[in-house]
Amino acid sequence: MTEQEIIDRINSSLAEEFELDPEAMRPEAGIYEELELDSLDMVDMVIVLENAFGFKIREEQAIREIRTLGDIHRFVIEKKAALATAS
């Protein structure tokens, strides 16, 4: 899976779950301010990403540091790379 494919899957999964406008899904978009998600949505975002990529991330500290859509992209790309290295 290329990085672009990962980004596309993240964006489509989040757009479907949270009914986001694809136009608004820029990497610099703030999760809370621009995409208007809240703490409940962040709980569900973890489930959506776990389901989309088949990994477990609920306990990861880095999840709590996410502020922009780009942060999510980087987090998932790094997580997948780490898992690939580990295996």
């Binding site: 949270f18 809240d38 409940l40 709980v43 569900d44 489930i47 776990e50 477990k56």
Partner: protein, 411 residues
Amino acid sequence: MQLRRVVITGMGAVSPFGRGTALLMSALEEGRSGVRHVSELEAMKGMRTQVAATVPELDSLPIPRKFRRSMSPMSIFATLACQDALRQAGLGADDCATGNLGVSIGSTVGSPNAFYAAMEDFFVDRSFERLKSTFFLQIMSHSCAANVAQTLGINGRILAPSAACATGSQAIGYGYETIAMGKQQQMLCGGADEFHPMTAAVFDIINAISTGYNDRPTETPRPFDRDRDGLVCGEGSGVLLLESLDSARRRGAAILGEVIGFATLADPTNIANPNTEAMEKCMRKAVEDAGLEPDRISYVNAHATATEQGDRAESHAIHRLFGSEIPVSSLKGHLGHTMAASGALELVATVEMLARKRLIPTLNLKNVDPRCAPLNYVTSVRNACIDTVIKNNFALGGVNSSIVVRRYQDD
């Protein structure tokens, strides 16, 4: 304490006929049935009924996702009904945020659909890892009331009575008392429920559901009829905007009717079986609460779900209190039993009957069960000079509830 008079200034209905009071009333007056065959039920073991009065698909997308995410169908029904009631009453977003408006809306249980889906997913691998954050917000007992308040920006009182089939009636009664005591100026009151096969199964196992009309669903249920074979589960929401008369007058609001009496009581004789004495007592107390004698009541909108025990007990209770001349009908022949919504949805239609001076008959009542009391059963649409009416609801759990409403008189 000087009690305030309480009037109705708005109504909303989501019924098996769709969204809106107009749709509901045209279907009732035309004698149409909201009952349909539900093929999903065919393959379920132990499920003998295959009919239900379900709500046709509604457009819920105008409700923003931020609010819709915590809603199951019953909260969507309730929210749409509340929006329509507020619109009719001429109340906008600013009026919701004054603190003068409260909510009294209940359901039988929290969302059975959400609960079943979550459990189905859990039992795949006994994992809660996929449980969404909004699950609890859909299954909590006050889900409808809370979602309505959140969506409409209401910051007054929240009540969420839960008494199965008497829920909507109690919610209106408690809202009426809240306004009468001066605690709120306006209350959105009613009930909501969503269909789930589990609900049908509950009534199927206690032999209270219709099983013999699966091939001709519009001929059941048949309240008071000799050939009835039980109730039909329905869904929807009814909401009435109750308001103090002072507030309604101040705003120049159109007044649709006045709530003048309410009674609710426990019937401890049996948790499931209806009891004529307790039903009569409940109606008598509601009439007394209205400060009237029984002969002032000109129509009874019965609970009558089309079970043998329920219809017979209620008919004899009505006969004891009001005699044999009083017009009586049940709307469950058209609507099925919309459970927690039934008290409110049927009261919406009853208030419309008051305004139109026309009685809606009991659909499918062809031959009165000889073991029902002799009453003036309404079997066709009939013009009538009704001005004070009583609406009954009786619930599993031994909960009775009756409301008295009259045409508003400026006196």
